[in-house]
Symmetry: C2
Subunit: 240 residues, 2 copies
DNA sequence: AACGCTATTGGGGAAATCCCGTATGGAATC
DNA sequence: GATTCCATACGGGATTTCCCCAATAGCGTT
C-alpha cells in the first residue's frame, strides 16, 4: 500500500489495493511518513448527520472525546465546516469551546499545534483531515510549508475513499429526487407558496404538498425550510 | 505576487497583495510556472447562478466557446460537478459532447490532454481549475505526477479568491442581521419549528415569529424557506 | 428629554402548511 | 400475469405559520 501516496490525487481509486480500505492503517502510515504526532479524519454524512472518524489517537483520548461529546463543540470541526482552505489551529477562535477541548487534549499529551484540511463532496458530504504535531513553532511551520499541498491532496483522497465505501455511498446516492420533487423544491426556494406552484404546474396544491413531503423524507428533513437548505448545500437546487 | 504560490494553501488570504485579484494574470503565472499550454478556472456563484470564468485561452477560442454554448455540454465541467478528485481528461466519457467540444478545441490548437480539479465551498459554490498541455502522454503523466497536488492546492486557492471577491462582497453590502435573527434562522435551518425554537431560547413563539419575519424582510424573501436558502448561500448560516 | 432602533411579548384571524387517508398508471420484479 | 414499488394526483381536517394590530423595556444618539 506504500504507493498509495503516489496515487493520491489520481482518479482511478479502484486501482488501489483493497487494503487501502483499512483507514486506520492508512492514517498511521501518513503519520509516520510525515513525522507528525497524530493524524485524524472525520467525515459527516449530511443526510443522517452520522459522523465517521478514523484517528491515530490513543484509545483513552478517543473514549474521553466521545463521552464528553467533543464532536459537538470541537473548534477544528467547526472551522472545517465553514472554510475551504486549510485551517491552522493557531488561527482558531480562542473561545470557551476551544479551551474546553484543547485543555482536555493537552492532558492526554496532544498538542494544540495542528492543521485541519476541509473537503467537500458533490452530495453535501463534508470531511476533514487533521494533523497535529508538537515541537517548536518554527519546526511546525516548516513542516506545513513543505507538506501542506500533499496533505491537501491526501485529505481529498481519504475523503473519497471513505465516501466510496459502502456505508456512506449507499445513503448519499440514495436520495434520487424525482423531476417533480426537484422542480417543486426549486420553486419553493424561489419563495413560491404551494398554491403558487400548483398554479404554475397546473396541478392541485395537494399534490404539490405530497411532493414536498416526499422531498423532506428523502432529505431526512423535518421541515421544508430544512429541506431547501440541504438541497441547496447539496447542489440539488439553487437559491432563489 | 510571485510568492502567491508559496502562500497558496495558507489561511490568511488577506495577506495576499491586491494584485492577486487579477485572476487572469494569476492563471498566466501558473501556466508559465508549470509549463502547460493553458490554465482555466470556472466557478459558479450559487446566489445568482452566474458563472465566473478566467482563462489563458486565446480570444478566438473564448468567443467560439461562448457562442457555441459549450459551457452547457463541456464534459470537463460535468465531470467536475460529480467528482471530488481531479479528473484526467483521458478518463472522460467519449460521448457526443466530448467529440463536439474537443474536436472544436483541436481546431484552435488546444490539446485534449488535461486535467480538471473540482472545488466546492460551504455555500453550494463550486468551481474547477483546468490545466491542459500537449506533447507526449509520458511527459504529461510525469507532469501530473510531479505537480498534481500543487494544482489541487491552487484550485482551492483560486476558488477561495474568486468567491471571496464575488459573493462575499455582496454579503458585506448585504443585510445586517441581528444576532437573534441569525440564531433563529439557524435553528429554522436545523428543522426546528417556531415553538421548538421558543422553547430552546425560552422566549415566546410570537417573538420567534417576529424575528423570522424581520429576517425575511432583510433578505427580501417571501417565505421562510427562501430566507433559509438565501442565508445559506450567502454564508449567514449553515445548512442543518 | 426625545428620538430611533432592537428585543421582547401578546391577540385575532386569515392563510398556508402538514399529516392522515385514497387512487391510478407505469416500470420493475417475480 | 401478479406483485411490488414509486411517481403522480387529489381531499379532509388538524396544526402551524403568517400578517395585521398594539405594547413594554433597554440602549445609544441627538
Amino acid at each position: 500500500m506504500g504507493d498509495a501516496f503516489d496515487q493520491a490525487g489520481l482518479i482511478d481509486l479502484a486501482e488501489l489495493p483493497d487494503a487501502a480500505q483499512d483507514f486506520d492503517a492508512f492514517l498511521r502510515e501518513i503519520r509516520d511518513r510525515f513525522g507528525v504526532d497524530h493524524v485524524a479524519y472525520a467525515g459527516m454524512n449530511p443526510i443522517n448527520r452520522s459522523v465517521i472518524g478514523h484517528v491515530t489517537y490513543g484509545k483513552d483520548w478517543q473514549e474521553h472525546y466521545a463521552t464528553q461529546g467533543f464532536h459537538r463543540i470541537d473548534p477544528t470541526l467547526h472551522s472545517a465546516r465553514r472554510s475551504i482552505a486549510p485551517v491552522d489551529w493557531s488561527r482558531l477562535e480562542r473561545d470557551l469551546d476551544y479551551l474546553t477541548v484543547f485543555r482536555s487534549a493537552h492532558d492526554f499529551g496532544i498538542s494544540d499545534q495542528g492543521v485541519t484540511i476541509p473537503v467537500r463532496g458533490p452530495y453535501g458530504d463534508i470531511g476533514g483531515l487533521s494533523l497535529t504535531c508538537g515541537g517548536s513553532k518554527t519546526e511546525w511551520k516548516a513542516l506545513c510549508r513543505e507538506n501542506l499541498h500533499v496533505w491537501q491532496a491526501l485529505s481529498v483522497h481519504v475523503h473519497d475513499l471513505v465516501i466510496s465505501s459502502d456505508s456512506f455511498s449507499s445513503l448519499l446516492r440514495g436520495p434520487s429526487m424525482s423531476m417533480r420533487e426537484r422542480e417543486i423544491l426549486q420553486w419553493t426556494a424561489e419563495g413560491k407558496s404551494q398554491q403558487d406552484i400548483a398554479d404554475i404546474l397546473t396541478i392541485s396544491h395537494r399534490t404539490v404538498e405530497v411532493h414536498l413531503r416526499s422531498a423532506r423524507h428523502k432529505l431526512y428533513a423535518l421541515t421544508t425550510a430544512q429541506a431547501v437548505g440541504r438541497a441547496i448545500s447539496m447542489g440539488l437546487i439553487y437559491p432563489g
